[in-house]
């Protein structure tokens, strides 16, 4: 492909696909804000994975660096992150995403109910989106993947701290930091539950 994008001729469709999906999610958020006075999310971030990082990821995962790998073997060419204030909002949004037309949940991991051993908490979904554009297999309508990560503000700030430490190999007493991060994750999860409990009591 030379200097061409790893996404090949499908590159132009990705922003359109992402816009369609994020548009529905923002619209749902607005609707909730109007009807209940509370938005579902606090932050909503999305991106098309950069050419360079997609190529690196193919290599890291042992796939050939091809358009097919980028769009079929890996699922996060389109990536969304939804950050909420409360635990229930994560699940409210998950339920909404399931109802989006043309969207099928092909994989999902609930690391909130079942946290990773290091303390990581987040809800991950891989979506198969049916779109009116050709896909890498030549189908019209085509199918594209998108990855969605949903979590609360406290889970998100924990994840960014953990991410920072993972890429700093020179860090002193790593074992201590790892243990402290796990403790912090459990404390923050505890606070998330307390916040949700208070909110439920106020509203009941």
């Amino acid at each position: 492909m030379g200097t061409d994008s790893i996404y090949g001729p499908y590159e132009e469709y990705l922003p359109l696909i992402m816009e369609e999906l994020t548009g529905r999610i923002s619209a749902f958020n607005e609707e909730r804000r109007e009807t209940t006075g509370h938005p579902v999310y606090e932050h909503f971030l999305y991106r098309i994975k950069e050419d360079k990082s997609m190529r690196e990821k193919c290599v890291r995962k042992g796939f050939p660096v091809t358009t097919r790998s980028a769009l079929r073997e890996l699922f996060d060419a389109v990536g969304l992150r939804i950050i909420t204030r409360f635990l229930d909002d994560v699940f409210r949004m998950v339920e909404f995403i399931r109802t989006i037309p043309g969207c099928t949940v092909v994989m999902e991991k609930d690391y909130i109910t079942n946290p990773k051993p290091n303390g990581y908490r987040s809800y991950h979904m891989i979506l198969d989106l049916e779109v009116p554009y050709e896909d890498v297999d030549g189908n019209v309508p085509g199918h594209y993947f998108a990855e969605v990560q949903l979590r609360t503000l406290s889970m998100d700030s924990w994840a960014s701290l953990e991410h920072e430490m993972k890429y700093k190999q020179d860090i002193q007493s790593t074992k201590l930091i790892v243990n402290e991060l796990k403790r912090l994750a459990d404390e923050m999860a505890s606070c998330d539950i307390s916040m949700q409990t208070i909110r439920d009591l106020i509203r009941s």
Binding site: T113, N114, P115, R183, D186, E187, A189, S190, I193, S194, Q196, T197, I198, D200, L201
Partner: protein, 220 residues
């Protein structure tokens, strides 16, 4: 197990050391109350046996001094006096038990066993109930997953785990956990029960706290 003996009668203190050593205890013997206080500050003992009548500093004062440093090691007082007031005085000073001289060595050994058993059995570093564990030092609640509890949540959970299956009234829980908080209202009990229920479910515990707002609650 390490034991501190404070006894000024040479013959008795020699006998005590011989018997205790023989039982496998590591025994330190001193002859007055002041040395006992110093020893107690220096080392960590599992049990202490003090005579009341001793030179320099008597046994009662020694116990009071030791308790004032926050040391909760079980103390057995030995007393020649048989007056009720003396026994009361010893217990009030912070002793856990007393024996009147002359006593049977066998009984003293049994009381030491009882005291040391109590301190380990009643102060475990973790409480368990089925798959649920409450780590006392870490304030960590765990079953399939783990979570950290805040101060009052932890105290409440600890109380439930020490009284499994027992119904406890909102008022009693409030008095026990929030007695030092002048701002608190009994309504706080329900809030904390709600926290704990959600946290028990978050760690996937097989037990829960049953009961209705304002009523009695049972962990089962």
């Amino acid at each position: 197990m390490r034991i501190l003996v404070a006894e000024d009668e040479a013959e008795l203190s020699r006998a005590l050391k011989a018997v205790l050593d023989h039982q496998g205890y590591e025994t330190d013997v001193v002859g007055d109350g002041l040395s006992a206080v110093e020893k107690a500050a220096e080392n960590s003992y599992d049990c202490m046996v003090f005579d009341i009548m001793m030179p320099v500093m008597d046994g009662l004062t020694a116990v009071r001094e030791i308790r004032s440093t926050g040391n909760l090691t079980p103390v057995i007082m030995l007393t020649a006096k048989t007056e009720v007031d003396d026994r009361v005085g010893g217990l009030d000073a912070g002793a856990d038990d007393y024996m009147t001289k002359p006593f049977a060595m066998k009984e003293l050994l049994a009381r030491i066993r009882s005291m040391t058993r109590r301190s380990t059995a009643f102060n475990p570093s973790r409480l368990t109930m089925g798959t649920l564990t409450l780590d006392i030092d870490e304030q960590e609640l765990s079953a399939v997953h783990s979570i950290r509890l805040s101060g009052k949540e932890f105290q409440l959970m600890e109380y439930f785990m020490r009284n499994p299956g027992r119904a406890m009234k909102t008022e009693d829980l409030f008095t026990r956990i929030w007695k030092d908080d002048p701002e608190a209202d009994t309504e706080i009990v329900w809030l904390y029960i709600s926290y704990l229920r959600k946290k028990l479910s978050a760690v996937m515990a097989e037990v829960t706290i049953e009961g209705e707002r304002g009523g009695s609650f049972t962990l089962r």
